[in-house]
C-alpha cells in the first residue's frame, strides 16, 4: 500500500444552503474571534462580490456563494480540525442560516515509483480491453466512483464520491484521490431548517468520515 505524500493532502467542508456571502469576510471572522487578528490582516482576498466572497488565510481557504459555503485546508494547515472548527464556529454564530447538506472531503496526492506502476493502477481500475480495438494505449484520465456508506440503511441514499486522476502536484507519476462524503439534511424547500442539523452532522460524523476517507484512498493502491 502506498502511503500518502503527507505534505500534500488536505480536507474541506462543503455546505449547501442559503448564505449571504458579504458577511463572510476576514474582518468578520476576526471580530467573532474565529481567527487571529494577525491572520485577518494577512488574508489574501481573491474576490469580494455580492454573489461570492473568496479569500485565503495561511491555513484555510474560504469561498462563499449564495448557495454554497466551502472551507478548504491549505498546504500550511497544521491539522484538519482547523477547517472543521472554523465552519462550526461560523454556523454556530449564524445559527438561523439554512444548511441543506454537508460534504466532508479528504484529498491527497500519492507518489508512485514510476510510470509502469501508475499505468498498472489505471489499467486495474479501468481495464483497457473495452477500448483497445479502437484506441492506442487507452488510459484512465479521471475516474469517479459513487457508493453508499458501509452499513447505510435503505432510507439513507447519500453517496460517497471518490475521484481518482493524475496528480497535478506530483509529476510525472503522482496520483490524486478525492473522497467526498455527502450528507443530505433537508430539502431546499424546507423553510424551517437552520444550521443546527449541519452542526450535529459535522460533530457526529467528522472523525469516522475522515478515517473512512483515508482508508478508501489508501485502499485504492492495494489492488495493484
Amino acid at each position: 500500500v502506498t502511503e500518502p505524500v503527507s505534505e500534500q493532502h488536505g480536507n474541506a467542508l462543503l455546505l449547501e444552503g442559503s448564505f449571504n456571502p458579504k458577511i463572510f469576510q476576514p474582518a468578520w471572522l476576526a471580530a467573532q474571534n474565529l481567527i487571529r487578528e494577525a491572520e485577518f490582516e494577512s488574508a489574501d482576498i481573491q474576490i469580494l462580490h455580492e454573489e461570492v466572497v473568496a479569500f485565503t488565510l495561511d491555513w484555510a481557504r474560504l469561498e462563499v456563494r449564495r448557495d454554497q459555503l466551502t472551507v478548504l485546508s491549505t498546504p500550511t494547515s497544521e491539522t484538519p480540525e482547523q477547517v472543521r472548527d472554523l465552519v462550526l464556529g461560523m454556523i454556530q454564530i449564524l445559527d438561523h442560516t439554512p444548511v441543506y447538506s454537508v460534504a466532508i472531503q479528504f484529498f491527497a496526492h500519492y507518489a508512485l515509483e514510476d510510470q509502469a506502476e501508475r499505468d498498472k493502477l489505471g489499467w486495474t481500475l479501468v481495464p483497457p480491453n473495452p477500448f483497445k480495438d479502437n484506441l492506442q494505449r487507452p488510459g484512465m484520465r479521471t475516474l469517479k466512483v459513487l457508493g453508499r456508506r458501509p452499513g447505510a440503511s435503505e432510507d439513507d441514499q447519500d453517496q460517497v464520491a471518490v475521484v481518482i486522476e493524475p496528480s497535478a502536484r506530483i509529476r510525472p507519476n503522482g496520483v490524486y484521490v478525492n473522497v467526498s462524503d455527502h450528507y443530505s439534511l433537508a430539502e431546499p424547500s424546507d423553510s424551517n431548517v437552520g444550521a443546527e442539523p449541519a452542526i450535529g452532522c459535522i460533530e457526529e460524523h467528522w472523525k469516522d468520515s475522515m478515517q473512512r476517507s483515508r482508508d478508501i484512498a489508501t485502499g485504492i493502491f492495494s489492488v495493484t
Binding site: E7, Q8, E51, P75
Partner: protein, 194 residues
C-alpha cells in the same frame, strides 16, 4: 422558478467540459477559473407571488398584495481557485489537548494523539510556547491542537516546527456537553451518587 433556483445557474467552470469532476472534487489538484456572467437578479419581497417557470417571464408577474419585486444588476466577475507556490507544513505528530490546570508560567494539559490511537497523556507546557493572540484562550477546559512537523519553504529551507493553536469555537458543542455529562456521571458513580 424561485429566485434561489434562478441564482443557481450563474456559475460556470471554465474547463467544465474538460473534466467530469466538479471543481471541489478536484480541490488541491488544479487551478480552476470561475466566472459570474453579468445578469439581473430578482429579489422577491414577501409574500411571494406565483413564480413563472421561465426566467424571461419574470418581468411579467405582478407582486401580490403586500409583496414586492426588486431587479438588481449583478456585475460580472472572474476569479480563480489558485494554488500559488507556498510553504508546506508536514505534520509528524498531532495531538488534541485539553487544559487541566493553569499555572503562572505554564499549563497542565491532557493530550489525545490525533496521529494514531494511543493512551491519553498529561503534559506541562510553557505559556511561552503559546502564540500571543491565543494567550487569552488559555483557561481550564480550553481545547488546543499541538502539531510537530516540518515547515518546508518555497525557497528550499526546512525547519522543524512545533505549533500550538487554541480552538476558537463560540459555544460548547453538543458532543462536548454530552462527553462532559458522561464524565460527570462517571465521577458521581465513583462517589456513590449514581
Amino acid at each position: 422558478m424561485s429566485p434561489a433556483a434562478e441564482l443557481a445557474d450563474i456559475f460556470t467552470q471554465d474547463d467544465a467540459t474538460a473534466h467530469q469532476a466538479s471543481p471541489l472534487e478536484r480541490a488541491g489538484n488544479d487551478e480552476v477559473a470561475f466566472l459570474i456572467r453579468p445578469r439581473f437578479r430578482y429579489l422577491a419581497g414577501f409574500p411571494l407571488p406565483d413564480m413563472p417557470d421561465a426566467a424571461e417571464d419574470l418581468e411579467t408577474i405582478e407582486p401580490v398584495e403586500g409583496g414586492s419585486w426588486e431587479r438588481r444588476f449583478v456585475s460580472p466577475a472572474v476569479w480563480t481557485m489558485a494554488s500559488p507556490s507556498t510553504d508546506t507544513f508536514r505534520a509528524l505528530q498531532r495531538w488534541e489537548g485539553v487544559v487541566l490546570e493553569c499555572r503562572d508560567e505554564s499549563f497542565l494539559a491532557r493530550l489525545t494523539d490525533l496521529t494514531e490511537e494511543g493512551p491519553a497523556e498529561e503534559v506541562e507546557l510553557p505559556l511561552s510556547d503559546v502564540p500571543r493572540e491565543d494567550l487569552d484562550l488559555v483557561e481550564l477546559g480550553a481545547v488546543f491542537y499541538w502539531s510537530i512537523g516540518y515547515r518546508d519553504e518555497v525557497g528550499g529551507g526546512r525547519w522543524r516546527s512545533s505549533t500550538l493553536r487554541f480552538r476558537r469555537l463560540p459555544l460548547w458543542s453538543k458532543q462536548e456537553l454530552e462527553a462532559a455529562a458522561e464524565r460527570a456521571a462517571d465521577i458521581a458513580r465513583v462517589f456513590g451518587e449514581g
